[in-house]
Symmetry: C2
Subunit: 358 residues, 2 copies
Amino acid sequence: MSLPRIAIDAMGGDHGVRTMVEGAAIARRAHDKFKFLLVGDETRIKAALDEHPAMRGASEILHCEDVVAGDEKPSRAIRRAKTTSMGLAINAVKEGDCGAAVSAGNTGALMAMSKLALRTMPGIDRPALAGLMPTLEEHDVVMLDLGANTDCDARNLVQFAIMGAAYSRIIYDYDAPRVRLLNIGTEDIKGTDTLRDAASALQNATGLDMQFDGFVESDKINRGEVDVVVTDGFSGNIALKAIEGTARFVTDLLKTAFTSSLRSKIGFLVSRPATELLRHHLDPNNHNGGVFLGLNGVIVKSHGSANAKGVANAVAVSARLLENDITRRIAADLSELGEDMLKERASSNGNGNGDGAK
Amino acid sequence: MSLPRIAIDAMGGDHGVRTMVEGAAIARRAHDKFKFLLVGDETRIKAALDEHPAMRGASEILHCEDVVAGDEKPSRAIRRAKTTSMGLAINAVKEGDCGAAVSAGNTGALMAMSKLALRTMPGIDRPALAGLMPTLEEHDVVMLDLGANTDCDARNLVQFAIMGAAYSRIIYDYDAPRVRLLNIGTEDIKGTDTLRDAASALQNATGLDMQFDGFVESDKINRGEVDVVVTDGFSGNIALKAIEGTARFVTDLLKTAFTSSLRSKIGFLVSRPATELLRHHLDPNNHNGGVFLGLNGVIVKSHGSANAKGVANAVAVSARLLENDITRRIAADLSELGEDMLKERASSNGNGNGDGAK
């Protein structure tokens, strides 16, 4: 099977063209059928390709000098869709020239531009941003929405569950990933009406390729007891950043502790393999590949500060979603759900809202 | 000045009577004017007092054998207010027999019983649960609400800000603590209408004893840049548990790393003082003393698993709030705010809701 090309926004992210091209090259070493459309400044891309000769035959360059700024308002960025590397990468997916696009640029702009260009897939009201987070077990946990939709109704949450489960099945070959809704307690009565309605819809649904296990609290996300955590974009963003911030906080404390005396410095040197293991496990580059689910096309967000290895992970994720046709998988589960589900309680505001988290 | 007595629910918590009495005794060593009403099984309390003879003259025992269970529904617990150690401790505050009550029992039950017995103070629509969390700096950050109110309007959030600032001023002697609203971005347009309304009310208020600095994201809670983080009980509970869970996750990883080889085990032993420093900093016993703010009386929640030192911290917090008359401090700021604030947008549902987080 020939895999559709992957468009790379070579200009986005903190580290620029060289890192994006190197990331694509690393991903390609493991899967030499990958082909790329590299979107960005031609001179710089060519210079980067000089270091990865095997990439040259697999890549086409789409020249463009303009880049969406990291702090650019999505409303401004979408007006520059035809001239920016991000906009042109997305457009290549829209035109069917590529199957997926990977960008390390401005998340809000990427979301807004993708939604406008690709539209949501049939049966989905709002796309969501899904991410991977480390656990105590071998595999990461998928969490969504991470900030694309500030307010969500029960119908949105059920759709997020279906999309997250499809994502999890594809990247980890699960048959029926364990899905839970993020809540402030695990008893049935906990939380909001929205959460209880979504839970009862998922409990009553049959034929979905997932195992719905009810609610999960945010201190259990990383325990390896759940494969997909479903939440609205506000709570998801609060949980995501609390996790990131605390991991940084604890490692900062550790650093202070290990440099507080000569004895602890020696201890640190002796135990370096152990702390390296910790660093490796928490390194965001090993969990890279946020995905916008629910669009007519695969859009993967690489972390802005990702190194080449992180970019390679994001590229590999986009290829895997392409190979396994995530859109078709989601559509299959949606059809199992049927039309009537959630019709009574659901509010009808199907349009997304643009002020999500960055 | 003579300090009102402190009621101790001696039966609540994972460790029972001995730990509660020992905690009170430790707190009293630092402040020998503290006097206690110890509520619980008389025989066990007397046995515990035998180990702390100095406590005997400062303590009265209120005998009662019944205890609120850790998993007891708040709706059931409130019907047993006259027979349980928790209910009687709260009642002692209601009757003016004590100024404050400390319990390590069921949080939801404590909240429900306190609200019913003590009622909210004038000018406050809903009480909130405030907690202390470690930061990179010397002082902890106050965060509220941690789960008492699932849904909040802008008026609730403004009141939480005033209550949290008063708490922070009292425990750390701040003149004007730095207050922020928890949000998914720091720009003015981020988040919900409720958050934006609350922010604009706090920005426009004059004469409040706080410095309002806008929004904070949950990865910045622990950086030492903010003294009081204000949020609804749903997001607050999500953030709190994500922080607790991640701290545990990282330390679990560290433990695994340090026992993965002989070399790392030796490194661990050599650097033990450093890891002890980390453990000390993250130990919840050093940040113990969740407070229900906004009631006619001081109710302090000690962590269920707190040791005697943790209980001593909770007792010291309750004494400090009593000495500094937290209720009067909150009332003073409320009067600065004036009546008109938030009148237009605020919804009128002043009654609390009972399904908060445990």
